[in-house]
């Protein structure tokens, strides 16, 4: 059985035919995972400095030179890196006295921080499969982003206490601004809200749970939802970027709602994270500093929005991006600042960020070409080996080599 590092579900039931050391027919991989596996033979990054191809060792030395010469470096990415590489990355940031951040600073970092800190109750996806009778997808569309989420864990499978399957034993509720593919499966359980309307929905739901009349158009439906949640035996809330962006950093209402639900019955929150090891980075940095992202080691450990990539690009003089493509994900105005910065990109494939990087260093694809360990989106530790041989160095080897040379 092979592992898939295509998304944060880390499916471990993959069957791959290895045809002379190459990837052949695959079983059980979703379309996203299959594309991830197929991609190892195309679009790979080549080592380069200032646009000219060089040897890997020279590229790593050039990367070390850029970082050593910077007063205020930012180490960004890490969601697509193994736990070992993330650990080395935190050590490198400490050594450089630089800042370290990951894409969770502009997505679900706050929710993950509350979960890791114990302010929001959580459970594993296996608990969801075995016990959950209500799954709420809030601002989250796993059918599109994590295709096997519903079939492996959250809605369709049979589990220990859920022997009769989705038709009788489980309920899917989707709260979203559009009728996403996940909402289509939920059918009657879909609650359409206006963009930014999550706060109002939380208030209405809290009122409904307390038996008060909620201030929404369809009062009866909201009261029914409240009753349904009160009657649930084990509920799971899967949060997506939609919820994180809509609440604009103020999670107090959401935390209080989950608290109220937990008083009635067991409710857990699991974020649906994008990169395969975003949760791993958040946990690694939290264990080290007490914060999940946006930390600087310059003059002690400091944390704040001002150390996130979106704000720090104004003041940092070098950026190292590891296994990520912030140029594609960030708004154009901020991506432009990144394009102007002196950038070192470490990645497995060519992307927008590597295209304008001063130095690029190719790495092996974890889970296919290199082994390691990582944390699933629910925090479960997973260890894996490489499947095929590769000429590329693993991410941890590259970070350690750069650290030696700095």
């Amino acid at each position: 059985m092979a592992f898939c590092t295509g998304c944060s579900l880390l499916c471990d039931d993959i069957v791959v035919d290895l045809d002379g050391g190459k990837i052949g027919k695959t079983m059980n991989l979703c379309r996203k995972g299959h594309a991830h596996y197929s991609s190892i033979s195309s679009g790979r990054l080549t080592p380069s400095v200032d646009g000219s191809e060089v040897g890997v060792e020279d590229a790593m030395m050039a990367a070390a030179e850029v970082l050593a010469g910077a007063d205020n470096p930012l180490l960004f990415g890490w969601g697509g890196s193994t736990l070992e590489a993330q650990r080395a990355g935190v050590d490198l940031a400490k050594k450089l006295g630089g800042a370290i951040d990951d894409p969770s600073s502009y997505s679900q970092g706050l929710i993950t921080e509350k979960i890791i800190a114990g302010d929001l109750p959580t459970c594993t996806l296996d608990d969801v499969r075995n016990f959950a009778d209500v799954s709420i997808y809030w601002g989250d569309d796993p059918s599109s982003s994590h295709p096997r989420h519903m079939s492996r864990f959250s809605y369709f499978p049979r589990g220990e206490k859920r022997q009769r399957g989705y038709e009788e034993d489980r309920e899917a509720i989707v709260i979203d601004v559009r009728k996403s593919p996940t909402a289509q499966i939920a059918a009657d359980g879909f609650f359409k809200i206006t963009p930014g309307g999550d706060g109002a929905f939380i208030e209405a739901l809290v009122a409904s749970l307390a038996g008060k009349i909620p201030k929404v158009e369809d009062k009866k439906r909201m009261l029914n939802l409240g009753t349904k949640l009160r009657k649930a035996k084990f509920g799971a809330i899967f949060t997506g970027q939609g919820l994180a962006h809509s609440l604009r950093g103020d999670l107090s209402g959401f935390v209080s709602l989950v608290g109220k639900l937990s008083e009635i019955t067991r409710f857990s929150v699991i974020p649906t994270l994008g990169d395969y090891n975003t949760r791993g980075f958040n946990q690694t940095l939290f264990d080290e500093t007490g914060h999940v992202n946006s930390v600087t080691f310059k003059d002690g450990v400091r944390h704040g929005q001002e150390f996130s990539i979106a704000r720090l690009l104004d003041s940092c003089d070098a950026v190292m991006v590891v296994g990520s493509d912030p140029a594609a994900a960030l708004p154009a105005a901020i991506a432009k600042k990144l394009a102007k910065a002196v950038t070192v990109a470490i990645g497995s494939h060519r992307n927008m960020t590597t295209d304008f990087a001063k130095v690029s260093v190719p790495m092996a694809v974890a889970g296919i070409e290199a082994g390691g360990s990582c944390l699933r989106t629910d925090g479960v530790r997973v260890e894996f080996d490489g499947l095929v041989g590769s000429d590329h160095l693993s991410d941890v080897d590259i970070i350690k080599r750069i650290m030696e040379a700095v």
Partner: protein, 155 residues
């Protein structure tokens, strides 16, 4: 899904019984379930006045007669499939025959599964185990109802 009335409208509607069935409506049902072929309706083939109807009927039934359709009439549109495996896990036949695999959300392990995901796209195998197979068929729709992208249909 092709309706019986659509097929009936393209038949001679004379109830001549030459196909061996009592009415053209019965023949339309037999055509859809693939118990009869268009060639069994001799007037339609021999008489020039039915030329247009024959062409229309061939066009209408093309999906049923194509190699893509399984014997149960299932057509998978690979370009729409996400490979999510919802159908694999929801399929009652898979659940009953593969309790340690598809029933608990994992890939099939028993070899008796009728739906599985190969190279990122769902594939139908062991079709004779499907509830829609054969004369005693049940119109089960678990694989269609659970598909987020409408990649599966029955014709």
């Amino acid at each position: 899904m092709i309706s019986v009335m659509e097929v009936y409208q393209l038949l001679p509607k004379t109830n001549c019984k030459r196909c061996g069935l009592p009415t053209c409506m019965a023949f339309a049902v037999a055509l859809i379930s693939r118990e009869k072929t268009i060639e069994d309706c001799t007037p339609l083939l021999e008489e020039a006045k039915y030329e247009k109807k024959l062409a229309g009927l061939r066009e209408l039934l093309a999906p049923i007669l194509s190699a893509d359709a399984t014997e149960t009439g299932m057509v998978i549109h690979p370009e729409k499939c996400y490979g999510c495996g919802n159908c694999v896990v929801a399929c009652p036949v898979n659940v009953a025959s593969d309790p340690k695999g598809t029933a608990i959300g994992r890939g099939p392990v028993s070899g008796k599964a009728i739906l599985m995901v190969e190279d990122g796209v769902v594939k139908c195998v062991n079709v004779d185990e499907c509830r829609r197979f054969g004369p005693e068929k049940v119109l089960c729709n678990a694989c269609i109802a659970t598909c987020p992208s409408k990649a599966i249909e029955f014709i």
